[in-house]
């Protein structure tokens, strides 16, 4: 079929500094996300051939000290754009708020930040990645189903960790969990585990966790990964560890194989020469939302495709066994969430059986319409 339109899909990112893996045995990954985008661009072109569309992936990733907003302006000067946004919240909002970005679409594939879905929501921003509330709810439902309702939180002393803990507390209220204690882990990270420092870490972690009242699990909030991986199997009482380490709530996991997932689990390594990570999947899914939106609506103007994305005709397939769609109140993609993060087979997928909702049980995860603080025009 002759190509009737070639549509650019922009991958906008920045080489932000990220915590290196705790262990030398794990190779750091510097191309998270972009590989997922490259895979979906290839597949969208395969599909587009049959209906007359071609897609051009424009890779716009600026170095760590560069100005990504300036890059965005350069791109938007060419016209309204479809943007896969691999940006930290400050940059995401700066780009979304540019007057020239008004009729573009940005899909957030990187940031968990709650405020972006609430007070800081934007009409031109859509969220692929689940937020902290969805992740906390996904874990909480499982813990309640397991009848493990008493949670001992151990968190880092950072604003990001505090934000996640707020959502854990919200989840406890919603589903009947009880936070028995909250401890700030304030010891210097990392050093004591190298060169046979095991004895010191082994002794240190029980001390940190000893004083808590009776609890069923230890819920860790340690986004910068300084200590969270040390908690499991070292707590004072024998307890499972969940949260940012241990059992995690994820949009993608390397152990997940259902509903055609092997297609992605095999497809990404062929391209990227490494295993897939969560951001590869969210970039892939974000690109799929945009290209599917274009092909199925027949529109190439972002403003028109946006209308299609929030309509009830839009059904996004992404190996989760059910069609996913965007919540009209905050543009968050509603989706099942995998509980895994280290086990060879996933532990579970939320929402859990038994949790009820009047219209869509997947909306038991995250902020539902009546509670949203987002006011879209």
């Amino acid at each position: 079929m002759p190509i009737k339109a070639t549509v650019p899909i922009v991958y906008l990112g920045k080489q932000y500094e990220e915590p290196l893996p705790l262990s030398y045995a794990e190779k750091p990954i510097f191309d998270k996300g972009i590989q997922g985008a490259r895979l979906i661009a290839k597949e969208a072109n395969q599909a587009g051939r049959f209906v007359g569309y071609a897609f051009d992936l424009v890779e716009a990733i600026v170095p760590a000290n560069a100005d990504v907003v300036a890059k965005a302006k350069e791109i938007l000067a060419k016209g309204d754009a479809f943007i896969i946004a691999d940006l930290e919240p400050k940059d995401l909002l700066a780009v979304a708020d540019l007057p020239e970005a008004k009729n573009s679409i940005l899909v957030n594939i990187r940031s968990n930040k709650e405020a972006l879905r609430q007070e800081q929501c934007r009409p031109n921003v859509f969220h692929i990645l689940p937020d902290w509330a969805m992740r906390a709810d996904a874990l909480a439902q499982y813990l309640i189903w397991k009848k493990w309702p008493r949670w001992f939180i151990v968190r880092g002393d950072t604003p990001a960790d505090k934000e996640y803990v707020e959502q854990i507390k919200r989840a406890a209220k919603r589903f009947g969990g009880k936070i028995v204690a909250e401890k700030v882990y304030d010891l210097p990270p990392g050093a004591r585990n190298t060169d046979s420092g095991y004895q010191q870490v082994q002794a240190q972690i029980p001390m940190v966790t000893e004083s808590a009242p009776e609890h069923d699990v230890v819920w860790v909030a340690n986004i910068d990964e300084g200590f969270g991986d040390y908690i499991a199997y070292r707590t004072y009482l024998p307890r499972p560890v969940v949260g940012t380490q241990g059992l995690q709530a994820l949009a993608w996991d390397s152990s997940y194989t259902e509903y055609g997932a092997m297609h992605f689990q095999n497809g990404l390594p062929k391209l990227a020469k490494r295993r897939p990570v969560e951001r590869d999947y969210t970039a892939w899914l974000g690109g799929r939302a945009l290209t599917d939106g274009i092909m199925r609506s027949g529109e190439t103007a972002p403003a028109k495709v946006k209308e299609y994305l929030v309509s009830d005709k839009f059904k996004l397939e992404g190996f989760k066994g059910q069609a996913m769609s965007f919540r009209t109140w905050d543009h968050q993609l509603r989706q099942p969430i995998i509980l895994g993060g280290g086990t060879r087979v996933p532990v579970s997928v939320s929402p859990q059986e038994g949790f009820l909702h009047p219209t869509n049980v997947t909306d038991t995860l995250g902020f539902d319409q009546p509670e949203t603080k987002c006011k879209l025009p």
Binding site: M1, E43, Q46, A47, F50, V51, Y259, G260, H263, N266, G267, R296, K315, E317, G321, Q322, A323, V361
Partner: protein, 323 residues
């Protein structure tokens, strides 16, 4: 007198040897066990378990029933089993990751969906020679040949399309957009309609082979069952073509649809995660494989009741039946 006795004796002898050596035989592919379970349809006893290459899914008999073809996805090969000896007799170099296949009514050509490569491989059944390759959409699975042998339809799960190949030219002549994740494509026995099941979309698209356009979409509804669990996958028409039995995956049911009116007449509870089944040769029973309960449910077609379940291997996928 002697002549009559002799004639009677030989008539008895003839009867003795003319009786069928084997009962109707059911073959089930076990995706996780890498085996085929062979079941005697009369006694419902497991006769044999045949080891095959890794990740067997699509399973189909040649029109003369002499060979059983098994698409082994992780083994990147098509195993061929001799139905007399119940042993593997040869292999077909199917191309990588074969999932499902279709065979032309004359039994000469096999069409294979290569899932990882987005290709349909067209192969001579006897020689294994590749006659052609047709690039289709991403993740091809469903394969159906029209009763007149003129067209082969492949569904691409990721691209959500049904692709129509003209078997004379081996070229794509139509690409029909359907709902999310189309798993199977089947022509009605009279060839007048093409049915395509969309697993995640939750619908069956009925396509007119004259125009290759969707003329009707069938949806499902079961009180108490979440809509997203109603996922149509395998479709099998009754012998007279008047009804079609559809496996609904996580809904744990088989739907019965009136082919003419497109109305769902009944839902039959079976085991967990039924995906594919097959009608018995006399049209009286329908056999469906339940992926998560590792068994095969026998449904009586007339009463539309599930009668019995037979344990098979792990993660059973497809069913093929030899009269």
């Amino acid at each position: 007198m002697t002549r009559i006795i002799l004639a009677a004796a030989s008539a008895v002898a003839l009867l003795f040897f003319a009786a069928p050596a084997f009962a109707t035989t059911i073959f089930v592919s076990n995706e996780k066990d890498n085996t085929i379970t062979v079941v005697n349809a009369d006694t419902l006893e497991v006769v044999k378990t045949i080891k095959v290459s890794r990740r067997p899914r699509g399973i189909m008999l040649s029109p003369d029933f002499k060979e059983l073809f098994v698409a082994a996805g992780d083994g990147d090969i098509m195993d061929v089993i001799d139905t007399k000896t119940l042993e593997k007799s040869r292999e077909l170099e199917s191309g990588p990751d074969p999932e499902l296949m279709a065979i032309d009514p004359a039994g000469k050509v096999i069409y294979i969906a290569n899932e990882d490569d987005s290709l349909v491989t067209i192969m001579d059944i006897k020689s294994g020679d590749v006659l052609g390759e047709v690039p289709v959409g991403v993740e091809p699975e469903g394969m159906g040949v029209s009763p007149d042998g003129k067209f082969t339809v492949a569904t691409s799960e990721s691209t959500s399309m049904a692709h129509v190949i003209d078997n004379t030219t081996m070229k794509l002549i139509a690409n029909v957009l359907v709902d999310s994740r189309p798993r199977e494509a089947k022509f009605t026995p009279d060839g007048k309609e093409l049915w395509v099941s969309s697993e995640v979309g939750g619908t069956i698209s009925v396509i007119d082979p004259k125009t290759w356009k969707v003329v009707k979409k069938i949806t499902f509804e079961v009180p108490g069952v979440r809509p997203e669990q109603l996922q149509p996958v395998g479709m099998d028409f009754t012998k007279d073509g008047k009804e079609v039995f559809v496996a609904l995956g996580p809904a744990n049911r088989v739907a019965v649809i009136d082919t003419a009116t497109k109305e769902v007449k009944n839902y039959i509870l079976v085991g967990q995660r039924p995906w594919h089944g097959e009608m018995g040769p006399d049209g009286k029973k329908y056999y469906v494989a339940n992926g998560l309960t590792n068994d095969l449910t026998v449904i009586d077609v007339e009463s539309q009741k599930a009668e019995k379940s037979v344990p098979v291997g792990r993660l059973p996928w497809g069913v093929a039946i030899m009269p």
